[in-house]
């Protein structure tokens, strides 16, 4: 499967057809832009759910301050996040296909990096990068689907985190307001909740269920 055959046109898998669900997910490719609090947890959930192939993209290395919410361990401090996450994912699912991309995404290299993905997950930190990823992916002529996040910081209610379909191929997870630039902390409970929303929205889209 590739984005070139327009994921929105695929027939939905029957909700109770476990075999068809497993088969579709195993044949799917998801690109994750950013492997921090959101991306590392999304990746772990997608692999546990049986998604067969992931492109993991991040330029950073694991730091001690990441361990409060990200899918990393103390003995991985200093290791490139894509390498550390790849190691963990292979412990969960030895057969998973991983492409590890240890570099910073730009408008020039993003499409070439995620080009064949069925769904792209935006899991970046900065608003500028989030907008760049959305503007590049959503303008892709084949209708590539983006599952983004916006508004995951702070201590507001977990029930305010939701999945929104803002446009045909653009989904946003979060409360759309809680900004780390306002000094709000990133807590594991809210970040991992948003990551679970992103992972589940991705799974539904892969299975042809396009409503959020």
């Amino acid at each position: 499967m590739t984005a070139q055959d327009d994921i929105a046109c695929r027939p939905p898998v029957e909700p109770a057809d476990d075999g068809a669900i497993r088969k579709r997910l195993a044949a799917s490719l998801v690109a994750i832009v950013g492997c921090g609090g959101l991306g590392s947890n999304v990746a772990a959930m997608l692999v546990r759910a049986g998604v067969g192939s992931l492109i993991l993209i991040d330029y950073d290395a694991v730091e001690e301050s990441n361990l409060n919410r990200q899918m990393f361990f103390r003995d991985q401090i200093g290791v490139a996040k894509v390498e550390a996450l790849g190691e963990t994912l292979r412990r969960i699912a030895p057969g998973v296909n991983l492409a590890l991309v240890h570099k910073c995404m730009t408008p020039e290299n993003l499409l070439a990096t995620v080009g064949d993905a069925d769904v792209v997950v935006e899991a970046a930190d900065h608003a500028e990068v989030k907008a760049m990823v959305a503007n590049v992916v959503c303008s892709h002529p084949t209708g590539m689907v983006l599952v983004a996040a916006s508004g995951i910081a702070g201590i507001d209610s977990a029930n305010d985190i939701a999945t929104h379909r803002v446009a045909t191929n653009f989904y946003v997870v979060g409360d759309c307001r809680s900004d780390v630039r306002a000094g709000l902390p990133l807590l594991a409970s809210r970040v991992m909740l948003a990551a679970a929303h992103q992972a589940h929205a991705t799974i539904r889209i892969l299975l042809g269920h396009m409503d959020p």
Partner: protein, 79 residues
């Protein structure tokens, strides 16, 4: 001409009818108006944003047409 504007997140304070809140609002603009013109008319803050017209990605240079639905989404930081 008549269009509809949907402002997401904190941009809902800049609604064309002056009443803050969620939901798309009608907006009458001149023929040939671009999204960039709308951003200027509504005095939206200069910040990262993603633009859609009728559910398809657009740019500030996109010229709007009668009946279009413009959506403006401003992502906030945290990941």
């Amino acid at each position: 001409m008549h269009i509809e504007v949907a402002l997401f997140a904190h941009l809902s304070e800049f609604q064309p009818d002056g009443r803050a809140g969620r939901g798309a609002r009608p907006f009458d603009v001149a023929e040939g108006t671009t999204i960039g013109d709308i951003i200027e008319m509504l005095a939206l803050p200069d910040e990262p944003r993603v633009l859609f017209v009728n559910n398809k990605h657009a740019t500030e240079q996109t010229v709007l047409a009668q009946g279009d639905r413009l959506a403006i989404f401003p992502p906030v930081a945290g990941g």
